[in-house]
């Protein structure tokens, strides 16, 4: 008897590749999805009876294809395949299918499937929802829960997104190097969006959204396994692992965010950190840096510090400087300023962020950081003004509460010095 947990794991693992192959075959998202679902139902019946197939992915693709062809009576177009009850014994047929799978462009198929989901006409949230439904196989209910919307609304959103992307405009032929690199960048960005959707959750939403981080890591690992020499994919996977490793330490019992410096580092997940460090180490050997690698390297320097005082702020400052050149953005400069404050003092940091004032005026973190720098350099009145502004811009109660802690500190110090 084949373990049910094993079957579930095998199906989950096979899904992206099987869906990609079925989409290539049917050239239609709905048909591919139905075929895959059909194959899964048959697997649940056949595998416990006949034992697991040697190659579950090949089995699911063949049976899915077969079932769909049966259903639409298009058998004239194809050789009729044996019924699935026999397939577990048909090592040759399986080996042949597996061979076709490995021999063809299945890596590009999976990349393509992910790429379709990040259609530029789709807003980010729909890209994520579509990828989670089509590639990861999350149920509509699970996705709806993660986005805090009703199931019917999410169903409609996904249907609309699917209609928009159709089978995608991207051709099914193997892409050239430039095209592949473009698809790669779009897919990596989408995976990071999935991750951040989960990572940015706070309070009660953590439970609903936390799974998105794991899902993003799974997708990143999948792509990395298909393209094992891509340094940016190593960087992205490392970045996600190193960030996610801190999950258990990021909030206190009341759901308030705990700053990196104040986190209990014994709660950081050493296994994820170990893998993240191994990956970024490997990526750096390539001497072909990119934004994900640099961000992962920054996260790695935080992860390597056993205590906050041991953090290599000079290294972090330099890495942010590199990131500023690669991806100029006021938010990155703001992040760099935090490191600069540690290395060269709060005045240098204030000077660095001054030019950002107009562009980041509506940004909560700008005023929060500015307030902290002002406080450190002894400008209490101005610090208070900055914190007040930050609170008025806070997106969540947790953000506001965080700034209030600073404000309380200013008030307490003011009272202390006046008595």
């Amino acid at each position: 008897m084949t373990d049910l947990a094993w079957i579930e794991g095998a199906i989950t693992a096979a899904r992206p590749q099987a869906m990609a192959a079925l989409l290539r075959y049917f050239r239609d998202m709905d048909a591919a999805q139905e075929a895959f679902q059909d194959a899964c139902l048959r697997a649940l019946k056949a595998w416990p009876k006949n034992g697991p197939p040697r190659d579950p992915t090949a089995w699911l693709i063949m049976v899915g294809r077969n079932a769909a062809i049966d259903a639409v009576r298009k058998s004239s177009r194809n050789t009729v395949l044996p019924p699935e009850e026999l397939l577990s014994d048909l090592e040759d047929a399986e080996a042949e299918a597996a061979e076709r799978l490995d021999g063809s462009h299945y890596r590009d198929d999976v990349l393509r499937l992910l790429f379709i989901c990040c259609h530029p006409d789709l807003p980010a949230t729909q890209q994520i929802a579509l990828a989670l439904r089509i590639v990861s196989g999350l149920s509509v209910r699970e996705i709806a829960r993660a986005f805090v919307v009703g199931e019917a609304a999410m169903e409609q959103r996904i249907t609309r997104a699917k209609a928009k992307v159709g089978a995608g405009d991207a051709p099914f032929e193997a892409p050239g190097p430039i095209e592949r690199a473009e698809r790669f960048a779009a897919v990596a960005a989408m995976i990071y969006l999935v991750f951040n959707e989960g990572y940015s959750a706070s309070g009660k939403a953590i439970e609903a959204k936390g799974g998105l981080c794991d899902e993003a890591i799974r997708l990143a690992r999948l792509l990395l396994r298909l393209f094992p020499a891509e340094p940016e994919m190593m960087g992205l996977t490392a970045l996600l692992l190193l960030q996610h490793a801190r999950s258990d330490a990021r909030f206190n019992a009341d759901g308030q965010a705990i700053l990196l410096e104040d986190q209990d580092r014994s709660l950081w997940n050493r296994k994820m950190i170990g893998e993240g460090l191994a990956l970024i180490d490997k990526a750096m050997l390539k001497r072909n840096p990119g934004p994900y690698q640099v961000q992962a390297a920054i996260a790695a320097l935080h992860a390597r510090a056993a205590r906050p005082e041991e953090t290599d702020w000079v290294g972090i400052d330099q890495l942010y400087a590199t990131l500023e050149i690669m991806q100029p953005s006021p938010v990155i400069t703001l992040n760099r300023a935090v490191a600069t404050a540690k290395v060269r003092g709060p005045e240098a940091a204030l000077e660095m962020i001054e030019p950002l004032a107009t562009r980041l005026d509506g940004y909560f973190h700008f005023h929060g950081a500015r307030g902290a720098f002002l406080l450190q350099s002894g400008h209490k009145v101005e610090a208070r003004q900055a914190f007040d502004r930050a609170i008025s811009l806070a997106n969540t109660a947790a953000e506001a509460a965080n700034i209030r802690q600073y404000l309380d500190r200013v008030t307490a110090e003011a009272e202390k010095s006046s008595t």
Binding site: A5, G9, A10, A13, R225, A229, K271, E275, L285
Partner: protein, 127 residues
């Protein structure tokens, strides 16, 4: 005789395990490991990181070639190993069967060990 029990499985499957399933498997394996430890037959145990973290050095040329990923692209990957002390292959197979009951799926390759240097690695990493 010392035997290596090399653990092969599809890592995309093991990576898709839920935390609950993972904990359950590790707990069941722990029971077998504890018994072997009591019997003084358990040597070093290692669980390897995913093959995405692997690097291969091809040393059949000079200078050697550094490649990403494991040595061979196979359906199942080497994910870890045990070193156990047994009188015979039979004994090693018995242990492998017990481990297999705790963690079904994949396969174990049982290979006698020719040279064993226990070494003194500084860090113990908890799974």
């Amino acid at each position: 005789m010392l035997y290596a029990i090399l653990c092969y499985n599809q890592e995309d499957v093991t990576c898709a395990w839920s935390q609950e399933h993972e904990d359950e498997v590790m707990q069941k394996l722990g029971v077998v490991q504890e018994r072997l430890t009591r019997e003084g037959r358990l040597g070093p145990v290692a669980r390897l990181m995913p093959t995405t973290a692997a690097t291969t050095l091809r040393k059949d040329r000079d200078p050697p070639l550094v490649l990403d990923g494991p040595f061979a692209e196979t359906k199942e990957q080497l994910l870890g190993f045990y070193v156990v002390d047994c009188d015979s292959l039979d004994g090693a197979l018995e242990i492998a069967k017990d481990l297999g009951k705790a963690n079904p799926g994949g396969s174990y390759e049982i290979r006698p060990i020719a040279l064993f240097l226990p070494g003194t690695p500084s860090g113990v990493i908890d799974a």
